[in-house]
């Protein structure tokens, strides 16, 4: 019936009754309306701002910022520009997001698997963890770690220390920092070479296993190569690196590396909170794999660990990745709560101080929103790429 009708319709359809034309027409109309709406509100905002004598435009990004920032991954002091404060804030956001995603994934995997454990204690502990941290608002957790836990640490003069080289106090964690000298390039090169050798070794092993069925223990030799080769080069090059130890001078420790307590608190809170959700994602992913897969793996004589690693998890990943992507995006966006405890992230530095010093609310909020949009879209694109890859491999 359909086919018949279609043929008839084509002959006598008026152009405004053609579904293809109509759908294009309405889409153009919708896009046009949206564009017109945005043009209208942008124009409206600009006119109003001009009427009220508010400066507009992005010229302020070149002006000298004039304020200090607690933590900066790139060189920054108060003589740099507002444009620079944008990048300082952005990198601080990316830092906490990337570290948080890595840590939350590791912790979440263990807890998710732990919840499925046959060991009563482990499974109950995992359940308690998940139910506790999933149900407490993140902001409270951040406050808890920062104001209740970290602010109870001793003052710099009474720091906890390990071997007089690592110090932990209310101002942060102080570690010895490496100082590179001439010739360290060779060591860095050796690390790259070692990684190359290991990749080659893995390929060789895979091939051999496919052809002969024999397995070869890879883990220990890999560790040996990764540590050994750079170490040999390091000594051959005459130890081109030394450690800079933190020393208490005046009020605070100087030298070495400092990890500020704001970063620690934010990272712990984000990790602990997101890991609870990831654990649930992992659990549901594993439970989605039919029981028969486990039984088949058992029948092949695989050990518990091998069964999980080679059979269950690779299949579960297909179920896990999409919701996991959501958790990663949430973590990135949640990192903007940093402003509550003074971690200098994008929202705190750029949408906070810079906005207040320049008063250019529209431009700055637009840039900040664009950054989060970009971070979210690129995380999701990366995860989609990974998802499509593992999905194909499994079929």
């Amino acid at each position: 019936m359909d086919i018949q009708n279609k043929g008839q319709d084509k002959a006598k359809t008026k152009i405004w009754n053609d579904p293809a034309v109509r759908s294009v027409f309405f889409q153009v109309l919708a896009v046009g309306a949206v564009v017109a709406f945005f043009l209208y509100i942008i124009n409206n905002a600009l006119t109003n701002m001009e009427q009220r004598g508010i400066t507009t435009g992005f010229a302020f990004l070149g002006d000298q910022a004039g304020f200090g920032i607690l933590q900066s991954l790139i060189e920054y002091d108060e003589t740099h520009s507002f444009g620079r404060t944008f990048f300082v804030g952005l990198l601080n956001t990316v830092l906490v997001a990337v570290l948080g995603i890595i840590l939350a994934t590791i912790l979440g995997f263990f807890i998710g698997i732990g919840r499925l454990s046959h060991n009563w204690l482990i499974s109950k502990l995992a359940t308690t963890y998940i139910e506790t941290f999933r149900n407490i608002p993140l902001l409270l957790q951040i406050f808890f770690w920062y104001f209740a836990v970290l602010q109870g640490l001793p003052s710099p003069r009474n720091s906890m220390s390990i071997g007089e080289s690592v110090f932990f106090n209310i101002r942060g964690l102080y570690l010895p920092g490496p100082v590179y000298e001439d010739g360290f390039g060779a060591v860095a090169f050796a690390i790259v070479v070692a990684i190359g050798i290991i990749i080659g070794l893995v390929r060789f092993e895979r091939k051999r296993q496919r052809e002969t069925g024999k397995t070869f223990p890879l883990f220990l030799p890999s560790v040996g190569i990764l540590c050994g080769l750079p170490l040999i080069v390091y000594f051959l090059a005459g130890s081109p690196m030394h450690w800079d130890y933190p020393v208490l001078t005046g009020f605070n420790f100087k030298g070495g590396l400092t990890i500020i307590p704001e970063l620690i608190a934010l990272l712990i809170a984000l990790t602990v909170y997101t890991a609870a959700f990831i654990a649930e994602v992992v659990r549901s992913g594993i439970e989605a794999i039919p029981r028969g897969q486990s039984e088949a793996a058992n029948a092949l004589g695989l050990s518990n660990g091998q069964r999980l690693r080679l059979v269950i998890i690779p299949q579960a990943m297909r179920v896990i990745i999409p919701p996991m992507t959501n958790q990663y995006l949430n973590l990135t966006k949640n990192s903007s709560l940093a402003t509550a405890i003074g971690y200098p992230d994008l929202v705190s530095v750029f949408m906070g101080t810079t906005l207040n010093q320049t008063g250019q609310a529209i431009e700055i909020i637009f840039m900040t929103m664009a950054v989060y949009l970009f971070l979210s879209l690129s995380t999701s694109a990366l995860m989609n790429w990974y998802n499509s890859r593992i999905a194909l491999v499994e079929r």
Partner: protein, 318 residues
């Protein structure tokens, strides 16, 4: 929007006044939830002048970060929130500063057991600051000028800043001196902290209005001037009724006994009388909120009248 904040206020029946989220002496709710303070009194003075009733104010608590946007967007009619008058703010934000109700300067609060006597000994210190203030800029300038290093620890509200200082996250808390006195009495043990002698900046604090409404700008400006003039002429909330029959022509003009002064502002001739009667003169506001008889106990200093060696000076009302 361009004209008519006064009309809008009269229609609404109250003044929307942006204040701080809680700073003792300047704008802070008391235990019954009534807003009190020097900045609050300015809101009340404007309400008394425009509506004849000082209680017709709606207070909107704002953080330092929120305040200008709230004013620009019309969420408030008047910003009276210890805000420093600077060129950038005056020139590029579409705002007008309507005078100075408190002459301040930035200082440092340190714990006494630090053993520091001067701000010049603060090299390497961690400094707690409230976000989005001129304070951050002055601090950077000061440390740069003397070749010293510091770690800025920036919090969103003054409450968190104090918490950070008390816990020992930073060695120093920096802010306007008036705020330091206010914050110090909030510490669990105020005697363990002291304000260093250095004042590193000029912080003229005053009310702010939107640009483009000259009538409203004038009303706010002259509400403050009326309170200062009243103190200068010895007119207070206690004697204002009696002073109405004073033979001093300046007093007569101020209190509306001589007609015509209110019309220039678009107000009744009793505008200044209402301010003094309901809120008091500038000296009364100062003493009640931040002066010797208040918990802050701040000296008049720069904020004394020009006739007494201070900077408070109002153009003539005539």
């Amino acid at each position: 929007m361009a004209d008519g904040t006064l009309d809008a206020v009269k229609k609404k029946g109250f003044v929307q006044c942006g204040v701080s989220t809680g700073l003792p002496g300047f704008s802070n709710p008391d235990d019954k939830g009534n807003w009190m303070g020097l900045d609050v009194d300015l809101c009340r003075a404007v309400a008394a002048a425009t509506l004849g009733d000082a209680s017709k104010v709606k207070y909107i608590p704002l953080t330092a970060k929120e305040r200008f946007t709230a004013l620009q967007s019309g969420e408030i009619d008047l910003l009276s929130r210890n805000t420093t008058w600077t060129l950038t703010r005056d020139g590029s934000l579409g705002l007008n500063f309507a005078g100075v109700n408190y002459y301040d300067g930035q200082g440092f609060l340190v714990s006494k057991d630090l053993g520091v006597k001067s701000a010049k000994e603060l090299d390497g210190a961690a400094v707690c600051i409230q976000a989005g203030t001129t304070t951050e800029l002055n601090l950077a300038d000061y440390f740069r000028e003397f070749g010293m290093k510091y770690q800025p620890v920036v919090f969103d509200t003054s409450d968190q800043t104090v918490k950070g200082f008390e816990a020992g996250r930073c060695d120093v808390l920096t802010s306007d001196q008036s705020q330091l006195y206010a914050l110090r009495i909030q510490l669990s043990n105020p005697d363990k902290a002291m304000v260093l002698p250095e004042v590193i900046s000029k912080e003229p604090l005053g009310p702010v209005v939107r640009q483009g409404d000259d009538q409203w700008f004038n009303i706010v400006k002259w509400s403050l001037f009326a309170a200062i003039t009243a103190e200068e002429l010895g007119v207070s909330s206690d004697n204002v009724d009696k002073m109405k029959s004073s033979t001093n022509p300046n007093v007569q003009r101020l209190l509306g006994a001589e007609a015509g002064q209110g019309k220039n502002l678009g107000l009744d001739d009793t505008w200044a009388f209402n301010i003094v009667k309901q809120v008091g003169n500038y000296g009364e506001m100062f003493e009640r909120n931040v002066g010797k008889s208040s918990p802050l106990g701040i000296e008049r200093g720069l904020n004394a009248l020009w006739t007494k060696g201070g900077l408070q000076y109002a153009p003539p009302i005539r």
